[in-house]
């Protein structure tokens, strides 16, 4: 069974469980992978039908399922994801004398991987992304790209490095025309232009917004349109600066899932690096989370030698420090920090998180939030 067929099968399960929202998005992902214009057309028609008949969910499920059968029949070539699209070695950048300096940063990303870039404001996230996108220069280190087709010149390389800044520029004119302009600029066949554009609009959930003007869109949809424009360029690497800013929690989750799904495409995977403040959400979908503090690089895969492999637990409670110390007395508690509203408890490495949980449960104190952040970059924030 090919990867494509496996994915189609998974989508069947969503529809079996009547999970229409996620199922339909996954269906479109599978459809998109086919790169087949007939499938695309059907997907567009189906999206249109779905939006016009929101109450007919059973009928939609039937339609989707029969469409899935069609999709499954199409052979989708799997793209090899072993080669790193981007390799950076000891990249350093410093601004002026004795001022901010970034790096050294070394990283490597393959297509289909998602990297999260986290850190507090002013720690160089945007700078790093812009360096990787060749928007700004770096002082030291090597930066290498490996694309399917080697760019002829620097300009062509820039056409392949797609970077979306946090504040995207305003679009003028019809949104659809803007999207079509991208495709025709990239030399897509005229007959495919409209179909591919509508397919992308459907996939990013913009079907009902495609006739609006830029000013009439909320910032979340603006980001989605920007994403649509970017994805139409069929990038091999995508660099997103704070795509989650200005989005509500639900929207954040949806867009992250979408990004993950798009990056994981069977035949057109994308190496994706995104920066965000939403640590928890980003960690959930990322293959690697990079933490930047004062321009210095750390990630959640490699623990530094100086760092202890402690069990680190974050607890939010109204009880006092003394109460907590009392509860944790049987454990080898190394330290208990209180930063504003949250306690961070550092236990010895052999301590079990479940034991901590049962101790808290037995003590019957009010806990509003608890999280094991031993492997999360969250631990760097609370240090």
């Amino acid at each position: 069974m090919t990867k494509h067929q496996q994915r189609v099968k998974a989508v069947f399960h969503f529809f079996d469980n009547k999970d229409l929202v996620l199922g339909f998005r996954k269906l479109l992902d599978c459809a998109m992978d086919t790169q087949n214009m007939t499938i695309y057309k059907t997907a567009i028609e189906l999206t249109d039908w779905k939006e016009n008949n929101p109450e007919k969910s059973d009928e939609l499920i039937e339609k989707c399922k029969s469409f899935l059968v069609e999709i499954e029949k199409i052979e989708v070539k799997e793209y090899p994801t072993e080669i790193s699209v981007l390799q950076s070695k000891n990249i350093q950048k410093s601004y002026g004398r004795n001022r901010f300096s970034l790096g050294p940063v070394s990283l490597e990303i393959k297509k289909g991987q998602v990297y999260g870039l986290v850190g507090e404001n002013g720690n160089g996230k945007t700078t790093l992304l812009r360096i990787l996108a060749k928007e700004i220069s770096h002082n030291q280190g090597d930066l290498n790209y490996k694309f399917d087709e080697t760019p002829k010149d620097e300009f062509e390389l820039r056409t392949k490095l797609v970077y979306i800044p946090q504040r995207t520029e305003k679009w003028y004119g019809s949104l659809k025309d803007n999207l079509k302009f991208v495709l025709s600029s990239y030399g897509v066949e005229p007959e495919e232009n409209e179909i591919r554009t509508l397919m992308m609009i459907a996939r990013l959930g913009l079907w009902n917004y495609k006739h609006l003007k830029w000013n009439e869109l909320s910032s979340g949809y603006k980001m989605r349109f920007e994403l649509a424009r970017t994805l139409l360029r069929q990038p091999e690497i995508l660099l997103l600066d704070e795509p989650l800013a200005n989005l509500d929690v639900l929207a954040q989750q949806v867009i992250l899932e979408d990004l993950k799904a798009i990056a994981n495409s069977v035949n057109n995977p994308i190496a994706l690096i995104l920066s965000s403040q939403q640590l928890y959400e980003v960690e959930k979908i990322s293959d690697k989370v990079i933490f930047l503090k004062n321009g210095k690089y750390q990630d959640n895969e490699t623990k530094s030698e100086t760092e202890n492999p402690n069990l680190i637990v974050e607890i939010d409670t109204d009880n006092s420090r003394e109460d907590l110390l009392q509860i944790f007395q049987p454990f080898a508690l190394e330290k208990l920090n209180f930063n504003g509203g949250i306690f961070v408890a550092y236990f010895s490495p052999e301590t079990e998180f479940s034991a901590v949980l049962s101790a808290l449960g037995n003590s019957k104190i009010q806990v509003t939030y608890i999280r094991n952040i031993s492997n999360s970059t969250r631990r760097f924030f609370v240090e």
Binding site: I131, I136, S137, D153, E154, F155, L157, Y172, K180, S185
Partner: protein, 633 residues
């Protein structure tokens, strides 16, 4: 609307570049506006009265239409930019090539050119209308009638005096002396009040040599023998002068019926495009490099012709033929909308005084207002008309007051010696006033009208203005292109830098002139050339070494000022050529004056060359622009 959308989608899917520049719509709109201007040009002078003010060929500039043109051009270009700036593939790093970029620039050029050249359409319409309404064949016929009938307009007494006579042949062959100092009292002479006329046969001497001051030498023999000079003529090529000397007095009394002003004497040519002396025509001909007085002999022949036709008509003693001529003239006048209160019958009666056909009645040049005295030198609109009726402006008039040594001769002879009855006779001026009828005819308007028609027909408005428009289009499109490939910051910095560079070069040249006494124009030229070369090289040198903004400043200056740089090279070469020529011909006065370089020689034609070179430069430069664009900040 549906169709427009369809075309837009078609272009968007296939030719994103053309869709973005909106060239299709701009061209369609431009052509529509051009058609409107063509139509305006065609109908603007439908009424002949519109052609009765001088310089109607420039009405576009003077009638305010130019402002309409400017406003439409500005609106079109601004509107276009608003639409075009909505998308920018190059700035968004969509795939591009040098050719694509150049093609985009070319589209800007075409759009700006089409949106700013309505003048051409207006003039084409205008010219077409004039050519159609007043075609050459018809106008030649009309002018013939006008010139013949003009003899009977009797608006100026001086045109009817004896020295004007050119027919029969004797009158044009012999020289008529009118200066009383030079009258040979032993020969036959004619007197009219205070004027004396004497006819001389002449012989000529051609001189080619000049003295040190560059003036023609005066024939030595005639100077010694004291032979009177009749007049002289300079050849058109400026190489020879022909002196005409008086030989002997000729008695033409058998041919002269009266010495008083007579229609027989009239030889003035009211209208002759080739030899027109009016300021407008002369100016126009000068500006277009056409020689004035193209054919003096031809003009003389015309005078003879007018005189001959007039004399023949009078001799035929056929009042009906005269009246017919006058009627045709009045018909033409009506067609051309020339103000007058003449009718052929009364007019013919005013003329018909056989056998001498002396001028007994005069016609006014304009309608006299009550209480205001009539002044023949005053044009109808109240301005003085200094253009005193076609005096044959060869050297004839002036020379009579000069003796062979070039000194002015004062009257030493009393006119009363010739005419003892002088005090009892009516002077010509009084005679004119006394016999002034109430008829009027606006001859000036007719002349202006004819001049305008011919000027417009022969006006090459295209060659005159094309260079202005192509460089306007090039400048504007280069500026827009600069903005499209960089950003407002680079553009503003480049403008400021260009200003600073110009200032610095000027100061440097001025300072060099004062401090080191480097006043040679070549020093200035080469300073500018060196600065130009440095500016052209700087973007290449600074790329990757200096901030991106720095390279962009000089890149933009290079793009926008390249034509000036080429022009500067041409000027420098030209100056070298002329300087070289001056040195070679320092001793030869004539050659020295004729030193010209190839820039002087080819003039505006080189503008096309510079344009082509500039286009080529931009085409090649696009690869550098791409390189610059790809650079990280």
């Amino acid at each position: 609307m549906q169709k427009i959308n369809q075309i837009n989608q078609y272009l968007l899917e296939r030719f994103p570049n053309i869709w973005n520049t909106r060239i299709v719509w701009m061209l369609l709109l431009g052509i529509a506006v051009h058609l409107i201007f063509f139509f305006i040009g065609f109908v603007s002078h439908a009424s002949p009265s519109m052609l009765q003010h001088s310089g109607a060929v420039n009405d576009y500039l003077t009638s305010g239409l130019i402002f309409v043109h400017i406003i439409i051009s500005v609106l079109m270009i601004v509107g276009w930019l608003v639409y075009m700036f909505k998308n920018n593939a190059f700035k968004s790093f969509y795939p591009s090539s040098g050719r694509k970029l150049f093609f985009e620039f070319l589209q800007y050029f075409i759009i700006v050119f089409v949106s700013t050249t309505f003048y051409f359409s207006y003039m084409s319409g205008f010219k077409l209308f004039i050519n159609y309404k007043y075609d050459d064949k018809k106008m030649a016929k009309n002018i013939d009638i006008i010139n013949r009938a003009n003899a009977f307009l009797s608006q100026e007494i001086e045109l009817y005096t004896l020295e004007q006579r050119k027919y029969p042949k004797e009158f044009s062959d012999f020289y008529c002396e009118t200066s009383i100092n030079k009258i040979d009292k032993n020969g036959k002479y004619f007197v009219y009040h205070d004027r004396v006329y004497q006819f001389f046969s002449t012989y000529k001497k051609v001189v080619t040599e000049r003295n040190r001051d560059g003036e023609y030498i005066y024939p030595e023999q005639e100077k010694i023998n004291g032979i009177g000079l009749a007049y002289y003529e300079d050849s058109r090529d400026g190489k020879t002068r022909t002196y005409y000397f008086k030989k002997a007095v000729v008695d033409l009394s058998s041919l002269i019926k009266s010495t008083a002003p007579s229609y027989y004497n009239f030889s003035d040519v009211l209208y002759d495009i080739k030899n027109n002396h009016s300021n407008n025509i002369s100016k126009y001909r000068y500006e277009n490099g056409i020689e004035n007085d193209e054919n003096l002999d031809e003009f003389k022949k015309q005078k003879v012709f007018v005189n001959q036709k007039t004399a023949q008509l009078l001799d035929s003693k056929n009042p009906k033929a005269l009246q017919e001529l006058l009627q045709s003239f009045l018909d033409i006048s009506r067609e051309f909308d020339i103000r007058n209160n003449l009718n052929a019958q009364d007019w013919a009666a005013m003329i018909n005084h056989p056998d001498k056909f002396e001028v007994k009645n005069f016609i006014k040049k304009y309608q006299q207002k009550t209480g205001v005295e009539y002044d023949p030198n005053k044009a109808p609109d109240g301005h003085y008309d200094y253009e005193i009726a076609n005096v044959d402006s060869t050297a004839v008039g002036l020379d009579n007051q000069l003796n062979e040594n070039g000194e002015i001769v004062k009257d030493t002879v009393n006119v009363r010696d010739f005419n003892p009855n002088l005090d009892r006779e009516v002077s010509p001026a009084d005679y004119f006033k006394k016999n002034l009828s109430n008829y009027y005819y606006y001859t000036t308007d007719l002349k202006t009208f004819l001049e305008n028609v011919d000027t417009i027909k022969s006006n090459d408005f295209f060659s005159e203005m094309i260079h202005f428009f192509i460089w306007l289009a090039f400048g504007l499109s280069a500026f827009i292109f600069s903005f499209r490939i960089t950003n407002i910051r680079s553009l503003l910095f480049s403008i400021v830098s260009a200003g600073v560079i110009v200032l610095a070069v000027t100061l440097f040249c001025v300072a060099s002139a004062f401090v080191f006494n480097m006043t040679s124009k070549f020093f200035i030229f080469y300073t500018m050339l060196i600065v130009g070369v440095i500016i052209l090289l700087l973007p290449f040198i600074t790329l990757k070494r200096f901030p991106k903004l720095f390279s962009s400043i000089f890149m933009l200056i290079s793009i926008n000022a390249f034509p000036i740089f080429i022009w500067l090279i041409l000027v420098t070469i030209n100056e070298h050529q002329t300087a070289d020529c001056y040195i070679k011909n320092i001793n030869s006065d004539n050659e020295y004056r004729n030193c010209v370089g190839f820039l002087d020689e080819y003039g505006y034609t080189l503008s096309y060359l510079i344009l082509m070179v500039s286009f080529l430069f931009l085409y090649l430069y696009t690869s550098f622009i791409k390189k610059w664009k790809a650079l990280p900040e």
